[in-house]
């Protein structure tokens, strides 16, 4: 994870639930490269085609509410989304995104500062999100060390892999 993340911004409203991120009809798809074609089909239909690696999603309150489907952040990761920032997150989405290694930042008041196409700069350790077009910024409490470590490792898979490997130096399972 980079300490400072910059990217082009896509904006979304409040209460964007996981059905609006990945509709129930796509839940039998496991291949993230297939899933990414359908991300935000209901909430932001042009996103799947036009998004570029490194783009940043900035949403209002309660982003990712609804089901526990990891398809939602998986599809975002497959598209190369650089970070997801919101006024607030639903808890399972937040965990899923962090577990997949996507920088996920809860910053009160952030949505109001951005329009689609702006450039955002996120300083993870300092806890600041800045709109580079307007200069406006908000601060946020930096993620606890536990979660920064998880992002640093690249996500939960890598973190557990290291833990298991450390337990059993031969590389075997516990």
């Amino acid at each position: 994870m980079q300490a400072v993340i910059e990217g082009r911004v896509w904006t979304l409203g409040a209460d964007v639930d996981t059905d609006q991120i990945i509709s129930g009809k796509y839940l039998t798809i496991i291949d993230p490269n297939e899933l990414k074609k359908h991300v935000f089909e209901i909430a932001l239909p042009e996103f799947a085609k036009e998004a570029r690696a490194g783009d940043i999603i900035i949403a209002d309150e309660n982003f990712g509410c609804g089901s526990s489907r990891e398809h939602a952040p998986q599809a975002m990761r497959a598209l190369g989304v650089g970070a997801v920032v919101a006024d607030s997150f639903a808890r399972i989405f937040f965990r899923n995104a962090i577990n997949l290694g996507i920088p996920t930042v809860e910053a009160r008041g952030v949505r109001a500062l951005f329009e689609k196409g702006d450039t955002a700069r996120i300083e993870m350790a300092a806890g600041r999100v800045t709109n580079l077009r307007t200069g406006a910024s908000v601060t946020f409490p930096p993620l606890p060390k536990h979660l920064l470590d998880l992002l640093e490792a690249g996500g939960l898979v890598e973190k557990v892999r290291r833990e298991l490997a450390a337990r059993s130096p031969a590389g075997g399972a516990p």
Binding site: D15, D19, Q20, G24, I42, N62, S68, E70, V160, P174
Partner: protein, 429 residues
């Protein structure tokens, strides 16, 4: 730990459960703890657990007797994609020696499988790859939904990190009027707490009304704490819990209750005396209004759905069948009834409930999540309207993004199916 300064006040039930799970004397809201998992549940989303499990370098599941797989979203498989998910899970269960697999024929909605087989007991920390895992908090447990990558870590290690949630107390008193149910209560609470009101928090239900609720009713109210954003719903275990679990508990119980001087973040007081049936209108579960107000607007429906983990237990179907008996589904309405598990299906067969519904013109399906999630059957076309006993009415939840879903009690769903528009069950009683 004896020299650790005490919090200076009592602990809530959720705090006590998480202290036990993490081997600590006490925990405080906001503290990050590593909890040992008592029960891990997967449904089809568990298929996405397999790849990360192997990528982690894991081979063995930490405790196969603490893992339940219950397929429920596409049963029997309705698409090739679903068939592949099921096959991945069967293969994984065989390879890692997971004996508790509720496959097609023994199937049911995952949360109901956990409940009716006693897989979650008081004091447990339970996790599942479904957001409505909160339902099992009705056992006096902390039960919460996680994603499949996190589940892979749980299968490998038997534990996960959790931030100890503050607890919101919902204190309920009064008696339900005729035709008013636990579903109406939880909708009323949603109307006050809203969909973000309990995000990251535990919601503990207390008070004389809650003490009188049956376990199925407690499942219904804990189920929809998910729609409040909560980490878990929870009810202090009592004689009702003990009786429900007496013959079926799969592991030892550790019943705990909140201390008298426990610190709640806030308390919501509800008196159900005189409360009418409630309905959540499109497009949010917290857009809650008294049902009689919506009835006046003559909302014509295309479909009615009596099913889901919220409300498809035998008590719900009995209540629905009693209203359905001798009546017909309104012309132009498709009425889908889906029991929550195969044993409930069998019980319906035995009691003549299936016949009551099919004679009335309803479709009685096998047990599954059915129409609730818009990915298997009972899909809504653009502009269609559905009266549903399920838990979500977001845009696109049951199919077309502008289809409109009204969430209500099983009795109100039957009344609506009979009238062909959103209706009050008290008109049929």
């Amino acid at each position: 730990m004896s020299d650790r300064p005490s919090n200076g006040h009592g602990a809530t039930l959720a705090e006590k459960v998480l202290a036990r799970a993490s081997g600590l004397e006490e925990v405080s809201p906001g503290q990050i703890v590593e909890g040992t998992v008592d029960l891990a549940m997967m449904h089809e989303q568990g298929a996405q657990t397999v790849a990360p499990f192997h990528q982690m370098g894991a081979v063995k599941v930490w405790d196969p007797d603490r893992v339940v797989i219950a397929i429920d979203h596409w049963v029997p498989a309705s698409t090739e994609g679903a068939a592949v998910l099921h096959r991945i899970l069967r293969k994984f269960a065989a390879e890692t020696g997971l004996p508790h697999f509720y496959d097609v024929g023994r199937h049911g909605i995952c949360h109901q499988i956990l409940a009716e087989n006693g897989w979650v007991v008081p004091g447990d920390l339970a996790v599942g790859t479904d957001s409505h895992t909160n339902m099992l908090g009705a056992m006096g447990a902390v039960a919460t939904g996680i994603g499949p990558t996190e589940m892979a870590a749980v299968l490998a290690l038997g534990r996960l990190w959790l931030k100890v949630p503050p607890t919101i107390q919902v204190h309920v008193q009064g008696s339900f009027g005729t035709g008013v149910t636990a579903k109406d209560l939880v909708l009323r609470i949603l109307g006050e707490v809203k969909t973000t009101g309990a995000t990251y928090k535990a919601v503990e239900f207390t008070g004389p009304t809650v003490e009188r609720l049956s376990m199925p009713e407690r499942f219904t109210i804990c189920n929809m704490t998910t729609e409040m954003g909560a980490k878990t719903g929870i009810v202090g275990p009592d004689g009702t819990t003990q009786e429900y679990l007496a013959k079926i508990a799969k592991h030892p119980m550790h019943p705990m209750t909140s201390d008298r001087d426990a610190r709640y973040e806030r308390t919501v007081e509800i008196d159900v005396g005189g409360m009418p049936p409630m309905v959540a209108c499109p497009y949010s579960p917290d857009n809650v209004r008294p049902l009689p107000d919506v009835v006046k607007e003559h909302v014509t429906i295309d479909q009615a759905f009596l099913g889901s983990c919220t409300n498809a237990r035998i008590e719900d179907l009995r209540e629905g069948a009693a209203l359905m008996k001798g009546r017909k589904v309104a012309p132009g309405v498709r009425f889908i009834v889906s029991p929550a598990s195969t044993p409930i299906y069998d019980q319906c067969l035995h009691e003549g409930i299936i016949e009551t519904f099919t004679e009335a013109g309803a479709v009685f399906t096998n047990s599954s999540c059915s129409a609730c999630f818009g990915g298997n059957m009972g899909i809504l076309a653009p502009d269609e309207v559905c009266a549903s006993s399920s838990n979500r009415n977001f845009p696109g939840r049951m199919g077309a993004k502008d289809a409109r879903i009204y969430l209500m009690s099983p009795a109100a769903v039957v009344a609506s199916a009979v009238r062909g528009e959103v209706a009050d069950p008290r008109e049929l009683i």
